[in-house]
C-alpha cells in the first residue's frame, strides 16, 4: 500500500468548477483510458490537465493513514469520548454520597467540584484526581490526602472524607463561604491593624499546628487563606511535603527546628515563596512558610508586596537583597511588629524566627498592646466626657461605685 503524499493542491472554488466535470468523466472511464481521454479533453491547457491528473491520482490512491476518513471519526477517535464521559461516570458513581453542583476549579492533577452531601446538607469542596493523571500524580495525591487528614485544626481547611470511586481518588473539604484574603485585600486595601492581627494570629496558629506534625505548607499566600467571617482558615496543604516522611525518618514528632525537607524542587508562588524555594537548593523547611507568612503580613498591612520584580531573576534579586520599605514608616504599625516582619523576610532562613511559636509570642504582645491602648483610650474618653459635663461625672461615678 503506497503512502506517498499527493502532489495535488486544493483548488479554488472557481477552479473546481472547471476541474470537477472533467474528473467525473475521467472517473467514469476505465482506468487505462483515462489519461488519453483527459489529454484530448483539455486540449492545449496543460495546466488544467496537470491539475486534473494529480487529483485523479489522489482519487485512486489509498489515503495516508493519518488522513484516513474511511473509518468514521467517532470510531477512529473513540478515545476522545472519554474524559467528559469519565467525569459523568464519576459524578454518577459518587452520587449516592455527594451531589455535584458544579466545577469550582481545575488544575493539572485534579478537578475541584462544589458538592452537597446527598444524605445531609453540608456543602463541600470535592477534589478528585483527573482521569488522565499519571501514576506518580496518583501517588502524590494519595500522600496529599494522608497528610491533610492528619491536620484537624480550626484554622485549617481539613479533610472530611476520602475514598476512591470509579478508580478515581477523591477527598472532600468543608466548602468555606466567603472571600479569600487575596480578594479582601484587593477590594478593601490594607487591613486596619485591629482587623489584621486576629487573621495573622489564626494563620500563625495553623502553621504551628501543622509544623508540629511535620507538615510544611510551601505555598502560603493570600489566595490560600479563606476568610470565614472574622476567622481565617488556611487551605490547600496540597503541595505540603511531610517533612518526616520525605526524610524517611521515624514517625516520632520532632522539635520544629529539626524539621527539614530534603527535596530539591522549588514549588510555590513567585512573590510569596522564600528564596531557598526558588533556587530549589538544599533544605526547604518550615522557615520557608514563615517567610511566606512575612510576605502575607506585609501585604495585609501595606497593600503591597514587599519585593517586586518583572521576571524571576529580578524578583529573586530583590528578595535576596532583602531591602524593603519598613512597615513602621507607613502606618500605625508598632515597632515590634515591624521588626518581626523584617526578620521573617530575611533572605537567609537562619536569620528568620525559628518557629511559628516564636512568631506567635510576638503577635500576642502586639495584640496585648492593642488592648492596653484601647483601654487607655477608653479612660481618655471618660476623662474628656467628665470634663465636659458634671452630670456625666455623676453618672460615671455612680457607675464605678454601684456597677450601673
Amino acid at each position: 500500500m503506497t503512502q506517498r503524499p499527493t502532489d495535488a493542491r486544493l483548488p479554488s472554488g472557481e477552479r473546481w468548477h472547471l476541474i470537477e466535470p472533467l474528473l467525473d468523466e475521467a472517473l467514469a472511464l476505465a482506468p487505462e483510458a483515462r489519461h488519453a481521454w483527459l489529454a484530448s479533453a483539455c486540449g492545449d491547457d496543460v495546466k488544467l490537465r496537470h491539475e486534473v491528473e494529480q487529483l485523479l491520482d489522489a482519487c485512486t490512491q489509498p489515503p495516508r493513514r493519518a488522513h484516513d476518513i474511511d473509518r468514521a471519526a467517532a470510531t477512529r477517535f473513540a478515545s476522545f469520548w472519554d474524559e467528559q464521559p469519565d467525569e459523568g461516570r464519576f459524578i454518577a458513581s459518587i452520587a449516592e454520597r455527594y451531589m455535584i453542583d458544579g466545577e469550582a476549579g481545575r488544575g493539572g492533577m485534579a478537578i475541584v467540584y462544589r458538592a452537597r452531601e446527598t444524605h445531609g446538607d453540608r456543602s463541600v469542596a470535592l477534589k478528585v484526581l483527573r482521569a488522565t493523571a499519571s501514576g506518580s500524580s496518583a501517588a502524590r495525591f494519595r500522600r496529599e490526602i494522608a497528610f491533610a487528614s492528619q491536620l484537624t485544626h480550626p484554622g485549617i481547611v481539613g479533610v472530611l472524607d476520602a475514598g476512591a470511586c470509579d478508580d478515581r481518588l477523591w477527598y472532600t473539604m468543608p466548602f468555606v463561604e466567603g472571600d479569600t484574603l487575596r480578594d479582601r485585600v484587593r477590594r478593601d486595601g490594607p487591613l486596619a491593624l485591629e482587623k489584621a492581627m486576629p487573621v495573622l494570629r489564626d494563620i500563625a496558629e495553623a502553621l504551628r499546628y501543622a509544623h508540629e506534625r511535620g507538615v510544611v505548607h510551601r505555598d502560603l499566600k493570600p489566595g490560600n487563606v479563606l476568610m470565614a467571617g472574622d476567622r481565617a482558615l488556611v487551605a490547600d496543604f496540597g503541595i505540603a511535603k511531610a517533612v518526616l516522611a520525605s526524610a524517611g525518618a521515624d514517625s516520632r514528632i520532632r522539635s520544629e527546628d529539626q524539621i527539614r525537607t530534603a527535596t530539591g524542587v522549588g514549588m510555590g508562588t513567585p512573590g510569596y515563596m522564600a528564596p531557598e524555594q526558588w533556587t530549589g537548593e538544599r533544605s526547604v523547611d518550615l522557615r520557608a512558610d514563615l517567610y511566606s507568612f512575612g510576605v502575607v503580613a506585609y501585604e495585609m498591612l501595606s497593600g503591597q508586596l514587599p519585593f517586586r520584580g518583572d521576571t524571576r531573576q529580578t524578583m529573586l534579586t530583590a528578595q535576596l537583597a532583602g531591602r524593603t520599605e519598613r512597615l513602621a514608616s507607613r502606618r500605625d504599625v508598632p515597632p515590634i511588629l515591624d521588626r518581626l516582619v523584617t526578620r521573617l523576610l530575611a533572605p537567609r532562613a537562619a536569620d528568620r524566627p525559628a518557629s511559628a511559636t516564636e512568631v506567635i509570642a510576638v503577635l500576642v504582645r502586639v495584640q496585648e498592646g492593642l488592648v492596653r491602648s484601647r483601654d487607655a483610650s477608653g479612660v481618655q474618653r471618660a476623662v474628656r466626657a467628665i470634663a465636659a459635663s458634671p452630670a456625666t461625672l455623676h453618672r460615671w461615678w455612680r457607675g464605678v461605685r454601684y456597677g450601673d
Binding site: 467525473d24 489522489a58 493519518a66 472519554d82 469519565d86
Partner: protein
C-alpha cells in the same frame, strides 16, 4: 437543534461508557450507531415534527458529533502541550500518533477549507466521517444515487488529501 443533539449525544455517550464499568483502561471503542439511535429515540419522543426521520436526525447529529470530537481534541491537544499528563497516558496505552488529537484537528480544518471549494463534498465528509453514516444513508440524505455518492467520496477524499498535503 444541533445544540440539542450535542447535549443529548454527550449524555448518552456518558451512559454508554459508564455501563462499561470494569473495563478500566481496556476497550475504548464506542458503538456510534447505538449511540445515535438512542439519542434519536429520546429526542423524537419529546417532539413531533423537529426530528422528521432517523436519517435526518443523523444528519444533524453528524454536525454535533463533529463539534464534540473537535472540542475534545482541542482540549486534549492543549492538555498535552500544557501538562504532559496526557503524553504519559499516550505512552501507557501505546496509542498510535495517527489517532492523536492533532490528526483530527487537521482533518477538521481541511474539511472547513473544503467547504469553500465544494460545500456539497464538505457536507459529505461531515455526514460520513464525522456522523458515521453509511453510504446508503448518506446518499438518501444528499438525494443522490449510490454510484454518484461513491464517485463523490473519491473526490472528497482526494481534495481533503490535497488540503492536508504538507
Amino acid at each position: 437543534m444541533t445544540e440539542v443533539a450535542y447535549h443529548e449525544l454527550r449524555r448518552v455517550a456518558h451512559r454508554h461508557l459508564s455501563a462499561r464499568d470494569g473495563y478500566a483502561g481496556g476497550d475504548r471503542t464506542i458503538d456510534t450507531t447505538a449511540l445515535v439511535h438512542e439519542a434519536y429515540l429520546k429526542l423524537a419522543a419529546g417532539s413531533t415534527e423537529q426530528w422528521k426521520s432517523l436519517v435526518h436526525f443523523r444528519a444533524v447529529a453528524s454536525v454535533a458529533m463533529r463539534h464534540i470530537l473537535v472540542d475534545r481534541a482541542r482540549s486534549r491537544a492543549a492538555e498535552r502541550n500544557g501538562g504532559g499528563l496526557w503524553r504519559v497516558t499516550l505512552d501507557e496505552h501505546a496509542v498510535a500518533r495517527d489517532d492523536g488529537p492533532e490528526a483530527l484537528l487537521a482533518i477538521d480544518e481541511a474539511c472547513t477549507r473544503l467547504a469553500d471549494v465544494s460545500p456539497r463534498l464538505a457536507r459529505l465528509v461531515e455526514l460520513r466521517f464525522f456522523g458515521g453514516l453509511t453510504e446508503a444513508e448518506t446518499a438518501a440524505e444528499l438525494g443522490v444515487n449510490v454510484r454518484t455518492l461513491q464517485r463523490d467520496w473519491l473526490k472528497a477524499r482526494a481534495l481533503l488529501a490535497a488540503a492536508l498535503a504538507p
